[in-house]
Point group: C2
Chain length 125, copies 2
DNA sequence: CTCTATGCAAAAACTTTGCAGGGAT
DNA sequence: ATCCCTGCAAAGTTTTTGCATAGAG
């Protein structure tokens, strides 16, 4: 999947800022927040959030709020679930979690909240 | 399930403010945010959030962030999923959504994000 | 009396908006 | 010349913290 395919038929001009955001999200194996992306490239938060809003309007990406109060974004290549640890705030993709359709509902994302293996082990020591 | 049972062995004194919060959450059939609760009883946000924090520390309630950037709280009687509509921000419980354990992970909550039946119908008109 | 709970006000954290400058078409 | 993208600064929203008062044991 490349950016041209992704932007096909979408009303989004591919500016350098947008290219950067999309490339970083494409290369990432987990959802990223503004801080994650700002660490990789210099970009004002207004630019970031305005472009993110546009991407979401065009269904190019989806997002969710994690436990750390930040929004995390990703280009979802195939619908899959996400795990958010409520102790260490780690976010990871859960590729093999089954999902089911709900009558007349459109499912965009599944977020599983709980305690990750590492924190769980640490907690029980 | 009553408040005495819920607070059994928990290090939480049952003050009037706490009783109000817990009773409202117990009676609700869906997760509630601070604004929802403030509509029902007068309570300062500091008091609310401090008590909510204490409840969460004692695993009396759990919470998640919805699309409207607010945290929603509930007393979860049995693990079940929640649906959050990304268009109208409605939050509802999905009792019959199947869930699966993840090896070594503790699952506290499942949030399904998407478009609810009503918004979906409205959108396709 | 001491310890905790509460309310008000201020701060903090993340996101959004206003506005002006700059580039592309 | 117009449109829209970008960055800075300011505002907005939700949640948290500081502090003084009130209340329970």
């Amino acid at each position: 999947m490349n950016l041209d395919q992704i932007l096909e038929n979408k009303n989004v001009k591919l500016t350098p800022a947008r290219r950067s955001i999309l490339e970083i999200l494409l290369l990432s194996n987990k959802p990223l927040c503004y801080d994650d992306i700002k660490d990789k490239i210099s970009m004002d938060k207004a630019t970031f959030y305005r472009n993110i809003t546009k991407f979401e309007e065009q269904n190019l990406i989806n997002s969710f709020e994690s436990n750390d109060k930040k929004r995390y974004f990703e280009i979802q290549k195939a619908l899959h679930a996400h795990f958010v640890c409520t102790l260490c705030n780690k976010v990871e993709c859960v590729k093999d979690y089954p999902y089911f359709s709900l009558d007349k509902y459109v499912i965009d994302n599944i977020i599983i909240k709980g305690i990750c293996a590492k924190c769980n082990t640490a907690n029980n020591n």
